[in-house]
């Protein structure tokens, strides 16, 4: 079933819908306990379904990133966890407690918004103190937590300023500080870097990961940016059309995408796709089509490899290598070369009217290649991905 692709079987995870709130979901294996669990949640706005039965769990201290294209429902899912939206069906568990119908203030969460959502009328210090004061935290405790967070984020010089007197990056740090002082059971980030410029984004990205490691906090982070997703996540949850399509460690997901969507969503430039069939040559299985003929990894795909089967062949641009003559998997007719300095991308096609193909070249090669050249390319069989053209699923994940 598509809905549960990549999600571990339920038996291993937290409570079923009937479990009472008092029971802690105890995992069978000796892992850290589940801090946040989403069970079969659906949500529709009017007649438009946004979430179509999502399951998700985050273990204590882990950094989970929800990634997907816009409109896939990842922000809605985050807001459901925060309590800013209410699920139509399904349940939400935080620290073993059913919070499905609880208001945000009873969930012990902190959230960093894309717009930072600082209180414009309060100074940085008061922004930090706001949530603590509402909870009746003693003044001395408030002061010490602000001191701590402020030192951690370098806000000392800004404490008396109003948000409008801060730069974007500074506001971002205050927003994080506001979450940190709360010491919540889980941190929620809603695309927190998208309002920053590229250089600052890279800097803050690292800072967020460092803070997470330092605080050992459980984090749910929503982004559409695959670089953030890849670099920050302990566990990556790729969402598509209201469903979780795949979960796993970032590299695992990158190397073994279980659907065509995941394969093309992660990685830049996108994975190249060609339609083809499976053939047997010299006792080995090849995928051929659209001017491409690549040997496939029989260990990986096993019994899914039946002769004559129609497949989608996926090769990442970085997995093409220049071929010695005769051993080429394909020949790329180069239309344009994008030189980035340390590497380059050759754009072109394998045959007329075929899909556009991109191959990575190293800087040295790029210097030799010109528009109109024909470039022989080879591919390591372990880097060839095969998908069913009908279902879009990887042949090894069927």
């Amino acid at each position: 079933m598509m809905a549960n692709v990549g999600v571990e079987p339920r038996t291993q995870a937290a409570p079923s819908a009937g479990t009472s709130a008092g029971e802690t979901p105890v995992p069978v294996v000796a892992e850290k306990p589940v801090r946040c669990a989403v069970r079969g949640v659906t949500k529709a706005f009017g007649t438009t379904p946004i979430l179509r039965g999502v399951d998700l769990e985050i273990r204590e201290g882990s950094f989970a990133v929800l990634v997907g294209s816009s409109g896939c429902g990842k922000s809605t899912l985050l807001r459901l966890v925060a309590g800013l939206e209410e699920a139509d069906t399904g349940s939400l568990w935080l620290a073993g407690k059913d919070v499905t119908r609880l208001p945000p203030r009873d969930r012990d969460i902190a959230m960093v918004f894309q717009s930072y959502a600082l209180y414009p009328h309060l100074t940085v210090k008061d922004n930090l103190a706001f949530g603590l004061k509402l909870r009746g935290t003693p003044a001395a405790e408030v002061a010490s937590r602000i001191r701590e967070a402020s030192a951690m984020l370098g806000l000392d010089a800004l404490l008396e300023r109003l948000p409008k007197q801060l730069s974007g990056g500074q506001r971002q740090r205050v927003a994080m500080g506001r979450a940190i002082v709360r010491r919540p059971s889980i941190f929620l980030f809603d695309e927190p870097l998208s309002n920053l410029d590229a250089a600052l984004r890279a800097e803050v990205r690292v800072e967020i990961r460092r803070l997470h490691d330092r605080l050992g906090a459980t984090t749910l982070y929503v982004t559409h940016d695959q670089v953030e997703a890849m670099t920050l996540a302990d566990t990556l949850w790729v969402m598509n059309k209201g469903l979780v399509e795949q979960k796993g460690a970032p590299l695992e997901v990158y190397e073994r995408p279980c659907t065509r969507f995941v394969a093309t969503f992660l990685g830049s430039p996108q994975m190249n796709m060609e339609s083809g069939v499976l053939v047997t040559k010299d006792g080995a299985t090849y995928a051929e089509g659209g001017g491409l003929s690549v040997k496939v990894d029989e260990d990986r795909f096993g019994s899914a490899l039946t002769r004559g089967r129609k497949v989608e062949i996926g090769v990442r641009p970085h997995d093409f290598v220049p071929a010695r003559s005769g051993a080429a998997a394909c020949s790329l007719k180069v239309e344009i070369v994008e030189a980035l300095g340390f590497e380059a991308f050759a754009h072109g096609w394998l045959r007329a009217s075929g899909p556009r193909i991109i191959a990575r070249l190293d800087a040295e090669e790029a210097r030799r290649v010109k528009t109109g050249d024909t470039l022989p390319l080879a591919v390591d069989p372990t880097k060839v991905h095969l998908f069913d053209p009908e279902t879009g699923r990887a042949l090894d994940a069927e």
């Binding site: 800013l84 209180y119 009328h121």
Partner: protein, 723 residues
Amino acid sequence: MARLSFAVIAALVLLLGAARARAETVVVWHAYRGDEEAALQAVSRTYEREHPGVTIDLLAIPHDAYSAKLGAAVPRGHGPHLFVDPHERLGFYLREKIVAPIGDGLDDATRRALDPAALAAVTLDGVAYGVPIAGKALLLFVNDALLPKAPPTMEELAALVVPGGYPLAYEATSAFFHAPFMHAFGARMLDDADHFAFFGDDAARSLDFVRDLSRAGAVPEEASGALVKQLFVTGKVAAVISGPWLAAELREEAKGLRYHTEPLPIVRATGNPMRSYVTIEAAIATPIATPAARAFARWLASHDAAVVRARRGRQAVTTSSAWEDPQIEADAELQSFREAARTGVVTPVTPAMRAAWVPANQAILKALREDMTAKDALLQAKHRWEDTMRPPPPPASPAPGLALGGLVLLGLAALALRRARAAGFAAELRASMPAYRYVTHAAITVGLLVVFPLAAGALTSLFAGTRDAPVYVGLANYLGILTARGGDLLGHGSFYLTLLVTVVWTVVNVSLHVGIGVAVGSLLSRSWMKIRAVYRILLILPWAVPSYVTALAWKGMFHRQFGAINAILTWLGAEPVSWFSHFSTAFAANVATNVWLGFPFMMVVTMGALTSISKDVLEAAEVDGATRWQRFRLVTLPLLKPALLPAVVLGAVWTFNMFNVVFLVSGGEPDGATDILVSEAYRWAFTKDAQYGYAAAYAVLIFGLLAVSSRVMSRRLGDPEAA
């Protein structure tokens, strides 16, 4: 040849000139409507036919604006040659130099033809200023269906039983309508020395008498003219006391109603007749009246014109011979009008009389509401009359003022000189020239429309006396106001008491405006509210309706006997409230009206400001643990503040000066207690003997108070950055 043609041309020019000179226009202003206007037009056309070359230019002016328009036009030479007006205002007009002696408009023949009492009414210190044309006095209108013939005494009339209604209705709280009772009890408004005389035992007995009528349910309480008419037309009252104007209105509005008129009955307790005050309408000459105008005035009083005016205009004309006309002689209604005018007391025209109405009205109201005994109320009225009529402050030497002004001017000149001598001034000035050019027209406009009237008003506050004979009194007006004219500093009508009321009024109103406005505005901004647009329009409506319309509607709703609010209270089983007889309820009525008028503004400001508050910020607060109320108090409200603050300052200034509501709803009742500073200033200028200087001093004080307090308010409530 050339010489001849020149002579011909010269002769033609002369002839044409002469012809043009003969075609003279007489401009006449009047406030007549209906039949009276038609009659005046008819006699004018006749006059024009009989006097070729004279054009009578009639101009009907609404009654309310009449006196103000005369006061504005005539002194500048733009007004009419003649105007028709009741004689009561003659004294005032004379002081304002709006009228001139009628001279040959009243020749001996005309004088002989006129009613002597009417002649006396238009004569001041032996000089006649107009030609009397008609007299008007109160009489009894009797509904034929309920009462074929009125009984001879007031006591018998009041004892009649009218199921679901009243035997008698009249504007009981008006001194003018009370006058017949006053006269029947042997009291009078002014004594021979022209001093207030409506006090003492006789006057008090007249008030006790009508209070008893009211207690016995014989007359409706505090009826307005409109209510009296309505009760009469709907057959809810057997008889009403009113004047010929009611007959004119009934002819237009209640054609089917069968009624007749009778003289006012006698009061059995004293055996005296009820004599009304009589108003003599006259064609009054202005200083620009021409001989032709005076001739027309004379003709208005002629037999022929009087007959037309009586027959067609239904006027009780003052020309005796007209009453011998057979048709008029046979007209019972006209005869009763004449009888009422003949037996009445011609209203005195002195400033003392003008100043007597307001205190007398207040005393009558208090006695009828039984807030005070009649005797005390009247004594208080006497004191108030004396307060109004107190002599103006002595003229002050303008020397100190002029010296101060001179010094200030000198100082300014010195400063300007120093500035002009400074290095680079000329170059700077040249560089700024284009900028000055851009703002010139705005500066001139603002100067003419704002600065000049303000300065003129401020200057007026240094004077006493009339417009044409102002007397410089220095700061005496201010001194009078600030020392409560020597009376109790927190006594009735003192500046400080009124200021206190005004401040309470402003604070209560603005708090409610902001409270309700913000609450409703926030509610309307909620996405779950269905048909928000409809609510929004409905709630803005009170704001869109002209405020005086709303104020009058609310005043009607608060009426003791006929108002909707008491009707609801009664329906709920509560006692009806006499809203305007106590300070707290009258004040509450004013506040209710003004809140109704004022909250939509704050609501609109709130809704506008709410759209600028980011949803994320509220959600952040929600995640931070704030309840709905905490989110509103700690986030929404502080974020609304920058937008609300100017609105609050503005609202405070408007409310501080909310003349319409106070004047129209409570009218200062009870007894001026709910008056605020502006309505108090208005009373000094327009109902208390035209003390413009004194009123202007009030206005300057109000201006100063507002200027200072709005600055302080902006500072105190301003955002932390500005502070």
